[in-house]
């Protein structure tokens, strides 16, 4: 919290600096006036800061995401810049070429934006509603589980496993996502459960 404060103070200072230069610019005429425009306005003044950590490697550098708007009702937030968090003990504000370009990941052209479905033999994806997609997935899972669930092995030992469907978990989802995923997947008896640690 303390750091948040100090950061805001910095922002005020920045704002003041800008104000100062703006005022300074007024006095000018002719060539000097244009000189006042030499310095591009500091683009982060009054953006909304959100703290995050880099989603790439496990150094987990602290980043600050600078968002459009001030969280007011009608301002739709959008991240316009991402920079290292100077308070973070590990990266102390630095970022690697990937972290420094995180903004382009957030706004990548090739991000998934709508659920898509591709039927057997089809050549292309087509959009599908969340509802239809999720219903269909649940149906497919249940049918497969009901058909292939193994309650007991040959020796009559209770094994309660489901081997015909598998789940590959990520490498960058949150612990909270991971735990919820674990609960759901294990409760169905899935054993083919793995993550990206191996590769």
């Amino acid at each position: 919290m303390l750091h948040e404060l100090s950061r805001r103070q910095f922002m005020k200072a920045a704002g003041a600096g800008l104000g100062g230069s703006a005022v300074a610019a007024l006095g000018f005429g002719g060539a000097e006036e244009a000189l006042a425009q030499a310095v591009r306005p500091f683009k982060l003044a009054r953006t909304t800061e959100t703290r995050n950590t880099c989603p790439y490697c496990s150094v987990a550098c602290g980043v600050i995401m600078y968002g459009l708007g001030d969280k007011s009702k009608n301002a739709h937030p959008a991240i316009i810049h991402i920079e290292g968090d100077p308070d973070h003990p590990t990266n102390r504000g630095t970022l690697c070429p990937k972290g420094a370009a995180l903004l382009d990941f957030v706004h990548s052209e090739t991000r998934t934006k709508v659920p898509q479905y591709r039927g057997p033999g089809e050549k292309a994806f087509r959009q599908i509603s969340w509802n239809d997609a999720l219903d269909r997935i649940a149906r497919l899972m249940k049918d497969d589980r009901d058909k292939n669930f193994i309650a007991r092995n040959q020796d009559g030992v209770t094994v309660n496993r489901w081997l015909t469907t598998g789940f590959l978990a990520a490498s960058a989802t949150t612990n909270e996502t991971a735990f919820l995923t674990y609960k759901v997947v294990r409760s169905t008896g899935i054993l083919a459960f793995d993550n990206q640690a191996r590769v």
Binding site: G17, S21, Q37, R40, P41, G84, C96
Partner: protein, 305 residues
């Protein structure tokens, strides 16, 4: 920093000399090549901070991408693989190329457009697009081949040392990002001191020619290098050994400019004076008459011939 004229040390193509009474801290960026891993974080940070996007190129068998500075690429890692005969070791020399922010900027000297290139008291040399006329003179003025002219808007572009960040007390984007601290930013003095520490460390590791690159030929720079082989800067992707503004440019922007103006002015004046004091060179009546005779005679001859 405010932006009154007092904050300018130099302004291109103008006789208006900034009073240079207000003293700002001279800032500098120190690039410690011996710490650089060539990760290109500085390139990414530069593109992101300045909202620039370079086009996606191809691989040409080297790590350098893009392959050269462009109007959108203001800084660039240049990779050199060098076999050190002395030590028998391979050395991968990686230099961050970009504007050196010379104390005596050749671009500014060459620029014909008032206020298109300015130097703040803090040492930053900045291009002011609004006044840039796209003539490319700065390219000729620069001893480091840095400025690039955009074919889109015919304006010159280069590293601004993030003058917008520095103006609110922040370090340039590349310096902030640099993971290994190969790029550091501060007052010029602080950077010089920091460099000394690095040089001592490098010497202790056997780089006996380690040193700083702050070329006096251009009055020193506000972007400096620590080199393990300061005696051979050209090893680092042809970093000039003793850069200075080209003599040709000096002559063009110096003597020629004044002598030329003088000569023309003098000639014009002389012509004027002579025309007024000298006897009028006019045709006399007599000559008119003699012309008639001559015409008659010649016309006659003409007829006979």
């Amino acid at each position: 920093m405010g932006l009154q004229s007092q904050d300018f040390a130099r302004i291109s193509a103008t006789n208006f000399r900034p009073p240079d009474v207000r003293h700002d801290f001279e800032v500098a960026k120190l690039i410690d090549v011996s710490k650089c891993i060539g990760c290109k974080a500085c390139q990414a940070a530069c593109l992101e901070w300045n909202n620039l996007r370079e086009e996606i190129g191809i691989n040409r068998g080297v790590y350098d991408n893009p392959h050269d500075l462009t109007p959108n690429t203001w800084t660039l890692m240049r990779f050199t693989e060098w076999e050190n005969q002395e030590s028998g070791n391979l050395e991968w020399l990686i230099r961050k190329d970009g504007c050196m922010h010379c104390a005596d900027p050749g671009c500014l000297k060459a620029c014909p457009s008032p206020g298109a290139i300015v130097q703040y008291n803090n040492g930053i040399v900045d291009f002011v697009s609004e006044h840039c006329i796209g003539c490319g003179y700065c390219v000729k003025g620069c001893p480091f081949n840095i400025p690039r002219i955009s074919q889109a808007d015919h304006k010159a572009y280069k590293c601004t040392l993030c003058s917008d960040r520095v103006s609110v007390g922040q370090a340039p984007a590349c310096a902030k990002a640099c993971p290994t601290g190969a790029i550091v930013f501060g007052t010029k003095q602080a950077m010089l001191d920091h460099a000394q520490g690095r040089i001592t460390d490098l010497k202790s590791r056997g780089f006996k020619n380690a040193g700083i690159y702050d070329p006096p030929g251009v009055g020193g720079t506000h972007v400096m290098y620590v080199l393990h082989h300061a005696d051979r800067p050209q090893l680092y992707a042809n970093l000039p050994e003793n850069p200075r503004i080209s003599q040709v440019v000096e002559l063009w922007k110096g003597l020629t400019k004044y002598a030329g103006m003088a000569a023309v002015g003098f000639a014009a004046a002389f012509a004027f004076v002579h025309a007024t004091i000298a006897r009028r060179n006019d045709v006399s009546r007599a000559e008119d008459r003699e012309a008639e005779h001559l015409i008659d005679e010649e016309a006659e001859r003409g007829r006979q011939a």
